[in-house]
């Protein structure tokens, strides 16, 4: 089961320069909430921004990571 810190590190290493804050939303270790600030989001719509983050986890979303709620921002 991934920890919030592991999820943060994976987002930050997949999107170099990005800053992520991740919390375990329910305390159950499978519902996470993340705020991600990344220059890579520049010029992308929300769908595309969220996809960039979801793509880091692939099939884990819906599996071990039941839910990853996202808020994305351009710095």
């Amino acid at each position: 089961m991934p920890s919030p810190d592991e999820i943060r590190q994976r987002i930050e290493s997949a999107l170099p320069g990005a800053r992520a804050e991740v919390e375990d939303w329910t305390g159950g270790g499978d519902h996470f909430r993340a705020t991600v600030v990344a220059e890579q989001f520049e010029g992308l719509n929300r769908i595309q921004q969220h996809r960039l983050v979801y793509d880091v986890f692939g099939a884990e979303i819906g599996g071990p990571i039941h839910a990853l709620s996202l808020k994305t921002q351009v710095p």
Binding site: R46, I47, R51, A59, I61, A67, S69, K71
Partner: protein, 135 residues
């Protein structure tokens, strides 16, 4: 495409998206959402008075599988407007709060939108009174 003929579920999903200008794929149905994220999305659409079609993805796991393959979006709910994926619960909520959802749907944002009450502004701002100028 022969691929679609071989895959009736994906073809049915694509057809539903094409046939309904506003369609929400969700867990449960609008009267009884089976997940908080779906409930939140239904609430946003209902607050705008938006007519929408809803598809419960729970009865058959293949619906979710094919939907996500079609949309490249991993989570449920998913809202489509005029054939385009608008987003999941986070995006729907965010767009509702900013008024973009109403705009996308061609509707008016209701005046009593709960998120619109400005924070940090006193409910009754001190009136710019004449006494200020009398010093």
């Amino acid at each position: 495409m022969s691929e679609q003929n071989d895959n009736p579920i994906r073809a049915a999903i694509a057809e539903a998206i094409a046939d309904n200008p506003v369609i929400l794929f969700m867990k449960g149905n609008p009267d009884q959402p089976a997940c908080g994220f779906s409930a939140r999305s239904v609430a946003a659409l209902q607050a705008l008075g938006a007519p929408f079609a809803a598809v419960d993805i729970l009865p058959d796991p293949r619906i979710r599988q094919e939907l996500s393959a079609l949309s490249s979006w991993p989570t449920i709910p998913q809202l489509f407007v005029k054939g385009e994926l608008v987003g999941g619960a986070d995006i729907i909520t965010e767009m509702y709060e900013t008024g973009e959802l109403a705009e996308t749907l061609g509707l008016e944002q209701p005046a009593e939108a709960p998120e619109s009450s400005p924070e940090g502004v006193p409910a009754q701002a001190a009136p710019l009174g004449i006494e200020n100028r009398l010093g």
